[in-house]
């Protein structure tokens, strides 16, 4: 029986790697007999919380069981992740968030875990957008970068803090162009974006999800996508990629999803993989969320998900290391420099 389980695991992951091949039907379906706990390691109401609650609502009818969401904030998300890691490995405790956060806890010395210790089921990927206020004098990326070069450290960028994706995006731009800026941290993505609208700061590099309403409401002027792909926002138009101005500029997408610690029964993982392959890929509610909120709908699982999330982890971990925030070198915990 045990051997069979191991065999299934090998087969399962091998098959999951090949995208088009349907999942084996040998897996017995997992029928949870009590509510599942989904720990969101951030405060209620934030962007992680929103997408996780939406995904949980899509999973509930498929599993035939309630998913209870518990918010356990603290230590940049490491506290809640720790509870999920320490809970019994029975498949009834999950966690959620951005894969790039979970992947750097070991580098930061917060929690001894790696992304490969988890089964990753992604739902959307967020893209950062470089924006200024609608009445800002900077009409193009070039004008903004020239101004930053002319007045080093004077142009302020509002983000959700040094561990946020917005700060990472601005650091990537600074590294590629050599500009200096003033970093102003806020309590979260929405207040940071709002500070640009209100004129307290000049630039926002938060994710499109957090800016989309202000962009559509013509209160923010998006200059470029921080990456090499354009982004289309319903009701606004297309935002060009930064790589069209800075040739060769790339930045990995930030994948969000549900994480289940390895060591849970095989049927849990296989049932979820089946749900992801069959139902989530064509889920209308999640698709609609992505289209209207300026995110990329990207349901991935298994090896494919691991491959997709890793670049952002690499970038994030090395950024932390280079700015002296890391406790150990990412090299030593299996994250080579990108």
């Amino acid at each position: 029986m045990k051997q069979l389980g191991a065999l299934k695991l090998i087969f399962g992951s091998a098959l999951a790697a090949a995208v088009a091949v349907p999942l084996p039907s040998i897996a017995a379906d997992w029928k949870p007999n009590r509510p599942i706990n989904l720990i969101v390691p951030w405060a209620a109401g934030g962007s992680t919380d929103q997408i996780t609650r939406l995904t949980a609502a899509q999973l509930e009818p498929l599993l035939g069981q309630t998913i209870v969401i518990v918010n356990q904030g603290g230590a940049s998300g490491a506290l809640g992740t720790r509870s999920a890691l320490e809970a019994p490995k029975d498949g009834y405790t999950w966690t959620a968030g951005a894969a790039q956060d979970l992947g750097v806890y070991e580098t930061l010395g917060l929690l001894k875990t790696r992304i490969t210790d988890w089964h990753v089921f992604t739902n959307v990927a967020n893209i950062q957008v470089l924006s200024v206020s609608a009445n800002s004098p900077y009409k193009t990326v070039k004008e903004l970068l020239d101004a930053m070069k002319a007045k080093p450290g004077q142009i302020s960028v509002g983000t959700a803090g040094v561990t946020s994706t917005g700060h990472n995006a601005m650091e990537a731009i600074a590294k590629a162009t050599g500009v200096k800026y003033r970093h102003v941290p806020y309590d979260g993505g929405t207040p940071a974006v709002l500070s640009v609208v209100a004129g307290e700061t000049d630039v926002s590099t938060q994710s499109a999800v957090e800016q989309v309403d202000m962009i559509r409401g013509k209160r923010l002027r998006p200059l470029a996508v921080v990456g090499d792909q354009p982004l289309e926002i319903e009701g606004y138009g297309t935002i060009p990629p930064l790589s069209s101005i800075i040739p060769g500029f790339t930045a990995p997408a930030i994948y969000f999803g549900i994480f289940i610690p390895k060591g849970v029964p095989d049927e849990v993982v296989q049932t979820l993989e089946k749900i992801w392959a069959k139902n989530i890929v064509k889920n209308e509610a999640l698709k609609k969320y992505a289209v209207t909120r300026g995110a990329l709908f990207s349901p991935l699982y298994g090896e494919q998900a691991q491959k997709a999330v890793f670049p952002a982890i690499q970038v994030n971990a090395w950024l932390m290391f280079d700015s002296n925030k890391a406790k150990v070198s990412p090299d030593t915990v299996g994250i080579p420099r990108p």
Partner: protein
Amino acid sequence: MLDGLVSLGHAYLALLLSPTSLVLGLAGALTGILVGCMPGLSATLCIALLTTLTVKLPANEAILILVCSYVGTLYGGSRSAILLNIPGTAANAASCADGHALALRGEAGRAIGIATSGAFCGTFFGVVCLAAFTPTLAKVALSFGAQEFFWLALFGVTLSGTLVGNDPLKGWLMGALGLFVAQIGEEGIYAYDRFTFGLPAFSGGIALIPALIGAFGFAEVLTRLADPVERKLLEMRDSIRPRFGEVARYWRTVLRSGAIGVLTGLMPGVGEDSGAWMSYAAAKATTKEPDLFGKGSIDGLMAAETGDMSSIPGHMIPMLALGVPGSAPSAVLMAAIIIHGIQPGPMLMVEHPHFAYDMVAMTTLATVCILIFGLYLVRPLLYVLRIKHSVLMPIIFLMSVVGSYATAWRLFDVYAMLAVGVGAFFLRRKGYQMAPFVLGLVLGNLLDKSLRRGLVLTDGSMVPFFTRPICIAFASVTIFTMLLYVPVFNRAVHRVADAVISPLKSLVARRG
């Protein structure tokens, strides 16, 4: 404008003519009241849990339940504040002093009646503001920058230090202690752990709900049970009818508290609890009977209940107009609204022009629901009063333990609750009030971040903290409040005030 009125009319008709929505509204309000009665179960928790339970319903029905439970929770919280001296939610802490004093005098019914009428008028006043201001708001909230928030936080703690008890020095010490405890754990700017002694559990900080349950619940249990004399139990002989006669008598308090509640609701990060405290402070400053405050003042109870309830629609205004929720419960409410496919924010009036009016209609229905329950269904809940302390208090402690655990499922929160409770027990005996401590805990994070953010924005210059217009106002009121307790200054102020007021008085008297 006319379009708005037509939309509002449609929203009301649609809501009131549908029996389903009436039933759902009542169910939501009842759930809210029950949750509110139980110390430790906050509005945030209630809305969060109901969001998960109602996610399959159509958007408007689900949001209706959430809005009604939000209003119900805060209303229900005054029940345990009055009867047990334990606020059911953070927002009801201001109702404890006067409400419980009234209950001790055998006037629990009257206190509940006042709370009901205050809550009704407050929410109703807020709804009117919600209808009037949501479409035009966007600008005011944006004029609040880091420096303004810094003063707002300091102002709140300073004021609350002088509110309860008769020793502002001890109040301010407790306020500073609360602000300090709020600094424990990971700070939000550089993710640096402060005062955690290297223990990972401390990194999440001392959460508000366990601290609140400890300071009010556990400390109360200890105080009651340590008393060897089995006290006579509270009896409620009088009627719990809402007292609209008293509303008429205290119309100034009702209007003032309603306005303060809505204004505090408008400011992001300032919760319902601040709405209650600020209106309580304002009532104490202007009342004719300041001596009664804390000893069963009707004015005070009315102010606190009107202030916290009117801040609910107040929170909804920036939530709908800007997509910036004003408090934790409204943040969860906003998340729920987004889950149902409606994005609050500047585009709301363009994308979903009717939704703001639907919210107005829903909140009105919630107001009516709490009035109905206030009239008919609260009395059965009050059999709690007949139970002896030696039986009731252990059960309350049991609920306090679960309550502090229920939000985040962490045992650390239970230990934090126990520690705060034992500390509060001793401090209370020595004349230290818990309210400034709790407010400090609430505002500590805002104070820290807005101070440092303000300094980052100006390269370390303190000047804008004293030169921006709103800052000047907040700063002068804060400093003036503190100076009033310096005898020399106080006497000078009184001399000046007398010199100005007595001619005016005689002028008025002559005219009269």
